[in-house]
Symmetry: D2
């Protein structure tokens, strides 16, 4: 399975094609071009081995959890001997983190302990050679939020509770970091989705009922001159985007488009659109399959669908999905992006979802390929059973 | 979605790389090489447009169903004006097919009505320019059985009951065939699986208990000199291979390997391993997702799993799956290939499943890409509801 | 099982009204008095035939839907010849309802057209001999909301869209009403749940951390002197109560108690607790079974459970369920009652759910017993398939 | 509802034994006589406390498992001091059971060690005061097979692997048996199903096609004079009856009748019809809900249904279900009863399933009611999670 995965024909992370602008999906022409570049991207996805020169390490931790911060102190203390370390600015004043003790201990390298904030990560993602997260899968998702475009390789430690995204046991962190620097890292490039909220623009004749607007026509009938929507916020997500009914107790009603086709009307609590990486998270709870990260697909799973025939489905990752609220809908819907950034879609608004040009490089714990199957076995406790006790009556 | 699908860089169907021998998986080295060629194969999968020069057409029909044979007579009658037509040999004597009437009507071209049998299809698949099936999805699966290696393009007519594999309405058959010949056909190359049954070979020391055999070791520990299994029958399947408990009322217990790893012990009624094409058939009943045919995956879904955590999963199609019966198992299991060729696996036997080098070219009914979504909408009756009747009381 | 089961307004077990024999031909009075000790209620649930003397009919309709109001006018017009009819007060001014036309037509019985409001229904439920609903299942749920305690028999017409609760076709309304009055009605007494929100009362020492409160202890350890919660609103529901995460994108975390035991922590989007009548609604979407209304059970189904082993379960209807928010929870949860009356449960609050003493009498369309199976067959379109068209080529 | 409900050996409704009060402290005789009209049986089902006078104990063990037999020796050794013990006759010669050692040790009570066989249990079920099973849930099902009509109270020990039916830990067997004898036992009367295979009888005119037989008419249209079927074998089952496709790879097609109605055509791998006790076994794997044993229902769950709308359903336990093979069916189906007694149903045959008059009395491990919830929590490992390790770095 692995012979075809030679690294030589892969572009190193640093030579990724230059971004073509943060804001996208403005015109349908740009959309088509983006789809093409995504198809090329897929050649780079998968698992590869990279050599790393590590000088600057950014650390992400659970800043609200005292125990985790104590571990963070322990980690930073060890890292400072060799690396420049960036921790979140809020920890500067944190008692458990104890900057003072660290500075006393590392007198000669006082300037190697630095602090990051959201802006620094957004503006200079290239300056970090490695990101280390400490905690559960949530900290990994946080890393993805922090680096919405280019992402440094991410090494994720768990603190005893193995997750699908946190394979490394913190107990061995010294050995693991050393091995990674000395021998190189196996990195799995995980597909992310780029999600852009498209707000319906007001028309002069909106008030008149003479020509009611129709979402499907506005999305599918290409008329360049007619600007019907404007892009609002954009999110890169690693696990899933969820469109749901929000605070209301009623059903979510939304239209789902795949490329230039109307696929179905979602009548359900909501719909989960997940990456293969996200197939072990919310998507699984909604009834979706467990999908290997090398599969180039987008997982669409309804949440409590009204119709028994609306089953989870998987479409190729070069598709562009759109989920929108009809102009005549009774109520709005809400979007979540990796469980955060809750946003309302009003009548006429929609969200586009497509493969992102900026994948998420996760450091893997094992040889090429088998890491995901290990997680399956361990996290889901397959075939775990209590065994009949042996007869020990002497 | 479609721009990347240029035909120019695709190898025409007739220039497919030469087969490297029917029997495979003999050694693990060959296995590795095969996996590589399959990876290349995937570049050819997908939907493409081909020009066709049609002279010889093979017709497949439901030979046990009188009504369908009457339609077959109608079809052949029309085809004989322009093409050489092969029908199944058993129809030569069939009253409803009425060869005599056809020969009377097509006096000048008596030698254009010919008969096929299983051997002819197996030995000379290249001689047919087109296969036409008449009936349900079963007739399409039959075409796949008939052409276990190279498959001519297959055009499938339904007789009123739309299926996932039978998109064309027979009512329009004249127009459809003409358009296909004149304008070319859109063909979807569907992945098939090649399944080989590996029978455990007897060892001289089998009778002694001193060194009991272990299936996992024999599959995973590569010792070239030690022949433990010999290939038996091989099947190319279009929908799915099912391993189940067979006639017994007890649970199926089998070991599932992915490449060189033991993934899990299947404790269930059985397990379905389906292609994306098969995702709308048995796999769906077992809880699997609906998977677009362009997705390069193998769908593994347990049937009534004993453990709630054994959920349907999807692995890349360059994996080699093996399902086997442990040497110490209480009972054997049974395999089906596209619902046929029921075969017993005894203790120590296993079946290998991997992507086939011989895809199945299905003529599509519409523009690139959207055919599958049409089927979804129509066959599953999404969102079908009775509507409140309008107030018509005058 | 808690104190709320022995409240003074419940009839003691020994003072149950005498059973009126197996056929249970009840009078309206007996039906109205049907407010029993819950443990004995179940003897009266099921399907029974009653004789009715109908003089006053209350009509419920979709007041926001013009077409339905036109049908309502038609119905009321016909009813006014023989009965006193109550329609919702808001229709008095509605153009489509057209009171004026009705009054002109029924001059002699002008005082027979009356209007109801919420208060009238709450205070004098006994004054109505029959409730007629016009619309979908929603209008039937509305009838249940209107009559939270004693409910008159409810006859439900659909307008072309058959529902599980609306069996009668409006086209035949004259014949149906006449038959019901002349021959008696088959009534299915449907179990409802009584849901009471229990608000955590503030303690003087709440602010101090010295003795943190624990929901489980407060619910399960009965100490009469220590008032920890006070009842807030109470709802009788016909379909289901849903506890969910409300407006947040995060998981719902709630504790579920059955009688005096902690059953599980609900880590999910939410949990549906449904009556058998509700088993064909939301509960079905959440994966619950279809449960015959004569089954005396409470259906507990998680919505997108975090754990694959939390499967839908059914407990006896003499259990008292409680769903609450732990004192230390990160966030609140929300309750819906038959999809309405959205209410927040804060830390320490819980909702109790138990069988209601006030069942919901639905007029059935057929002989005893088979009505529900008819609905199954028709609404779910079992085994519906397109048939192959017959060979009609002459 | 069919003729088999009024067989002469059933007690008429009016002659029911008088209820012995709410606490229902039954004598062994009362328990043994518990063979009621089905309609009234339900009043006696549930959990009750009984006083027991124990002299003769029947022991069931896994006779093919050496370790379990060693435990059996240990148990019997202890029981012989006080009771007459019956073990399976095959153990008389078993080395591990070691009769000789037992007889040497219990010289004075040599005649207290006795052996049972199938016939003894069938003919004299009343002679045993208690049944003790040693092993997994399978041994409990075996007890049910052994006692197809009257069943003595069954106490079930597990050997380390907790099951839904085996609550007691063998480690504490001395204490448990003593407490049961001294203080009485809490017994849960579990509903069983009585399943009778009805074979289609040959008709004189079978060969002619002039009047083809129709299963539905023969089942539903009661014409006393026309004998169409004759009862074959009858089974009492504790968990479930399964009707499936048997050895074939094709779909099972069977007709399902509820009382005097045709409910649906089962197009699936098969259908599970389970008791509430069986809801945690096969039925759960097929997607059925977990149902408390006090619920008076029959669980019908398709296995891999062809249609997405055929969902698990629950009907009242006073229904009579029939599953049959249409006369025109392509193939037969197979039945299993608690996983055993595999039986073929040919064209025209059917199996009837209804509540049995002979419930299965299981000794419970705890106070009334909560035992089942304990099993849920423990066996399904609800909410089991690895916890983040506490920070222990000194």
């Amino acid at each position: 399975m692995s012979g075809d995965k030679t690294t030589s024909n892969r572009m190193p992370v640093n030579e990724l094609p230059p971004s073509t602008g943060y804001s996208r999906l403005l015109t349908k022409r740009q959309l088509a071009e983006m789809a093409f570049s995504v198809r090329d991207l897929s050649k780079y996805l998968g698992t590869l081995k990279i050599k790393m020169r590590v000088r600057k390490i950014l650390v992400i931790t659970k800043i609200w959890d005292k125990a985790t911060i104590l571990y963070t102190n322990e980690l930073v203390d060890w890292l400072l001997s060799d690396y420049t370390v960036y921790v979140q600015d809020i920890l500067k004043e944190d008692e458990s983190f104890n900057e003072e003790q660290l500075l006393v201990k590392h007198k000669s390298g006082r300037d190697k302990l630095k602090y990051w904030n959201f802006d620094l990560c957004e503006e200079h993602p290239q300056m970090f050679d490695l990101v280390i997260t400490l905690g559960g899968d949530g900290t990994v998702l946080y890393a993805s939020r922090l680096f919405q475009r280019i992402v440094p390789p991410v090494l994720s430690f768990n603190l005893g509770s193995l997750g699908f995204l946190t394979k490394f046991d913190f107990t061995n962190h010294e050995k693991i970091v050393r091995s990674l620097v000395d021998e190189g890292a196996i990195v799995s490039l995980r597909m992310r989705f780029e999600c852009t909220i498209m707000k319906s623009t007001e028309r002069i004749d909106d008030k008149s009922n003479s020509n009611p607007r129709h979402l499907g026509s506005e999305i599918l009938d290409i008329v360049e001159s007619d600007v019907t929507h404007e892009p609002d916020k954009t999110f890169s997500i690693l696990n899933e985007v969820v469109v749901d009914r929000g605070p209301k107790g009623t059903m979510c009603m939304a239209e789902l488009y795949v490329d230039d086709e109307h696929l179905t009307t979602v009548e359900a609590d909501g719909v989960v659109i997940a990456t293969p990486t996200g197939s072990t998270a919310y998507s699984l709870s909604a009834g979706g399959s467990l999908v290997h990260p090398d599969i180039q697909g987008m997982l669409v799973s309804p949440i409590c669908a009204h119709s028994l025939s609306f089953r989870p489905l998987i479409v190729p990752d070069n598709a562009v999905l759109r989920v929108g609220v009809p102009y005549g809908a009774r109520s709005s819907v809400w979007c979540s992006f990796d469980g955060k950034d809750r946003t309302e879609l009003n009548q006429g608004d929609y969200v586009t979802i497509s493969a992102s040009r900026f994948p998420f490089p996760m450091v893997q714990s094992k040889r090429l390929g088998s890491d995901w199957f290990d997680s399956l076995r361990m996290t889901l406790n397959w075939n775990q059973r209590q065994q009949q006790k042996a007869y020990t009556n002497a």
